[in-house]
């Protein structure tokens, strides 16, 4: 009986709506957090930061954003890449226009800009539903990328249309640019991921979150119950884009350092994020992280295994990677359509029953 719920009594409603009602969970969570904040920065190196942890965190934020829209509010969006581009270019313009503005504000502001753009592209969702909406959000994807590609103002008239991040510091430590220490990169992403996850958690446990879920599960009934669909959907689009915009800003400024709209924020990215959300679990915050980790790490892992350990030729390895990732996605969907998060929940459930099933 490692995992137990018995003996947990809650005497007030705030206690019951805690993030981790079971104290075992809470301690485990604090322990993990401590490791993440204290231990990891000490041991992290370039490879771990740039190829593993930073991408996972950045993608987690994007996945969190999309999860709010798709998982909680039920609006499938394939425009994530475009919104990330808004975040990235917004951040770039802010950084270059106001060199003295702290990078943290730049990133948050670019999230806010993206939220505005998200609202505009969210407007059609009042009429358009389901897959029609999903395809319609591709309009945002293509239009935004085209916009950033076609108007030199966005990339400060640089010769090639690439944007390259200038160096900025937080508390005197560089967090962007080539001279950033891996731990600094990692910590700033972690801080954003943590803050945003907390925000997402708050929003989804109150009436805003419930209005989203109601729209997701049955929009007509929700409206008759008293949920204002316009407000709920636009809120979801705004919050989601805010997250995605921040992810885009971090993606550009901290993670890659130089990007080009059509390549870095293409349609593939949109799909990737959708994957994360669905593999991780629709409507689950933990799932967003799990999904991002899965999708980012699996190819890296496979590559290290196939090319690094087994020394397969790279093309065969990459093709096999696709095959394996595809097959795994299908496998997961078959085993548990509700994602890793649900799988974890089931596992807990079994653990709780163990050793006496039923």
């Amino acid at each position: 009986m490692l995992y137990r719920e018995a003996g947990e009594f809650r005497t007030s409603y705030p206690d019951d709506s805690q993030t981790f009602p079971i104290s075992f969970d809470k301690y485990r969570y604090y322990a993990i957090l401590a490791v993440l904040v204290v231990v990891v920065p000490l041991v992290i190196n370039d490879y771990w930061a740039n190829a593993v942890l930073v991408p996972v965190l950045v993608w987690s934020i994007a996945a969190l954003g999309l999860n709010i829209l798709t998982g909680y509010c039920g609006q499938i969006s394939l425009g994530t890449g475009g919104f990330m581009a808004v975040g990235a270019y917004g951040c770039y313009k802010l950084m270059t226009a106001f060199p003295d503005l702290n990078i943290i504000f730049c990133i948050v502001l670019s999230g806010a800009i993206t939220a505005g753009v998200g609202i505009i592209f969210g407007l059609p969702s009042l009429r358009i539903k389901g897959f029609y909406l999903a395809v319609a959000t591709l309009a945002a994807q293509f239009f935004l990328v085209w916009l950033f590609n076609s108007f030199p103002w966005f990339y400060n008239y640089s010769a090639s249309g690439q944007i390259t991040v200038p160096e900025r510091t937080v508390l005197g430590f560089p967090v962007t640019g080539p001279y950033t220490e891996p731990w600094a990169k990692y910590l700033i992403c972690l801080a954003f991921a943590f803050a945003l996850a907390w925000l997402a958690r708050n929003l989804t446990r109150g009436s805003v979150g419930r209005s989203w879920m109601a729209i997701r599960d049955m929009d007509i009934a929700a409206e008759i119950i008293g949920v204002n669909p316009l407000k709920a959907k636009l809120q979801a689009f705004a919050v989601s884009s805010f997250f995605v915009g921040i992810a885009g800003a971090l993606f550009f400024s901290v993670y890659l350092g130089a990007v080009e709209a059509s390549e870095a924020f293409g349609i593939n990215q949109s799909f990737l994020v959708l994957f994360m959300v669905i593999i991780g679990g629709l409507g689950s915050i933990f799932g967003s992280f799990a999904g991002a980790a899965f999708i980012v790490l699996l190819p890296v892992l496979l590559k290290n295994l196939l090319v690094g350990k087994l020394s397969w030729p790279t093309d065969i390895a990459t093709n096999s990677e696709f095959i394996i990732v595809g097959a795994l996605i299908i496998f997961f969907l078959i085993v548990e359509p509700h994602g890793l998060a649900h799988l974890a929940r089931l596992f807990k459930e079994k653990l709780r029953l163990w050793p006496f099933p039923h």
């Binding site: 293509f142 065969i316 990732v325």
Partner: protein
């Protein structure tokens, strides 16, 4: 001025033809969606896969050559035969049917009655799989498809129109061929859906998996049938597009051009796919024609989507799509 106008007409005509080519790809989506409510993201890859298979079979490529050679250290790449086109097409069609069966057996069977988004994801998984599998099987090099098309079409059109209007219209011969193929396909599919018992059952499946099961419709059979048809339609699209640009990975991206067509025409309507294709084709060409001087080029990419989006705001189910039933 008149020159301008004639040019605009020419642009529209070409748009029309391209539109039909788009619809050829869109058809595959429509078929599967209409018949089982699954939004098959893998359709684009299926087009590529079909074309790769066709070329591979025709030119006698050894499947999985790279893999085999890597494992056994051999050096085999080609069987050294050259199949006649008809035989290769027939064989590829068979491969697509086998693929349909595999999809049913290994994926769809387990996902009966799941939410549409889950099925959608599964098809994305399939797309990944096929992407790797197709390249592993046939290699990533570019390959050419040679269509024995009569060469004179474009010239004749241009000459005749020049004689009549004083302005030679240009139309690609491939487009003419594609239009014919598309017309035949659409006609037969519409008839199939309208008049066969299976057609009705397919629509039932799309509405409610469980209820369809409960009246004795074998989902598995239906799925094999419809994925096979979609595979063969994909083959047709693959031939046409492959002839245009060579068979290689990028072919699958053509699916992205088919999506707005789908949206505009309605996910469930075969004639809608054609009409949607034409509207998008003509629309994007004309838009580029008028707006290019103002906002610069490369608008085709998003224009189709924005057009479809605006259109949907007024008609959320697309042109001919089944009305979305909203009731409590």
């Amino acid at each position: 001025m008149i020159e301008q106008l004639l040019y605009a007409i020419e642009v529209s005509l070409n748009g029309l033809m391209t539109g039909i080519l788009y619809s050829l790809v869109a058809l595959g989506f429509v078929l599967i969606f209409k018949a089982s409510g699954v939004f098959n993201y893998a359709q684009g890859i299926m087009v590529l896969f079909a074309a790769l298979t066709l070329v591979g079979l025709q030119s006698g490529q050894v499947p999985f050559a790279h893999l085999i050679n890597a494992i056994f250290g051999t050096h085999i790449y080609n069987f050294g035969w050259n199949l006649p086109a008809v035989a290769a097409i027939a064989l590829s069609a068979v491969v697509m049917v086998v693929l349909a069966m595999a999809v049913e057996k290994f994926i769809l069977k387990f996902l009966i009655n799941q939410e549409p988004v889950i099925l959608f994801m599964a098809t994305i998984g399939l797309a990944y799989f096929l992407e790797g599998f197709g390249e592993l099987m046939w290699g990533g090099e570019i390959k050419a498809i040679d269509l024995p098309l009569p060469v004179g079409i474009s010239d004749t059109v241009e000459r005749v129109t020049y004689d009549h209007f004083g302005y030679g219209f240009f139309i690609d011969r491939l487009d003419v061929a594609a239009a014919c193929v598309a017309a035949v396909l659409v006609l037969s599919l519409v008839l199939f859906f309208q008049y066969s018992k299976i057609g009705r059952a397919l629509r039932a499946v799309a509405d409610d998996h469980q209820a369809a099961l409960s009246v004795g419709i074998s989902l598995r059979y239906i799925w094999v049938v419809i994925w096979s048809i979609a595979g063969i339609v994909g083959l047709a699209a693959g031939i046409m597009w492959g002839a245009k640009s060579g068979v290689q990975f990028s072919l699958s991206l053509i699916a992205l051009k088919a999506l707005p067509v789908l949206m505009l025409g309605g996910f469930t309507s075969i004639p809608g796919a054609i009409l949607g294709g034409i509207i998008i084709g003509v629309g994007e060409k004309l838009f580029d024609f008028f707006m290019n001087p103002v906002i610069g080029g490369a608008t085709e990419n998003w224009f189709a989507y924005v057009l479809a989006l605006v259109f949907l705001v007024f008609r959320p189910q697309g042109l001919f799509g089944e009305k979305i039933i909203e009731r409590v």
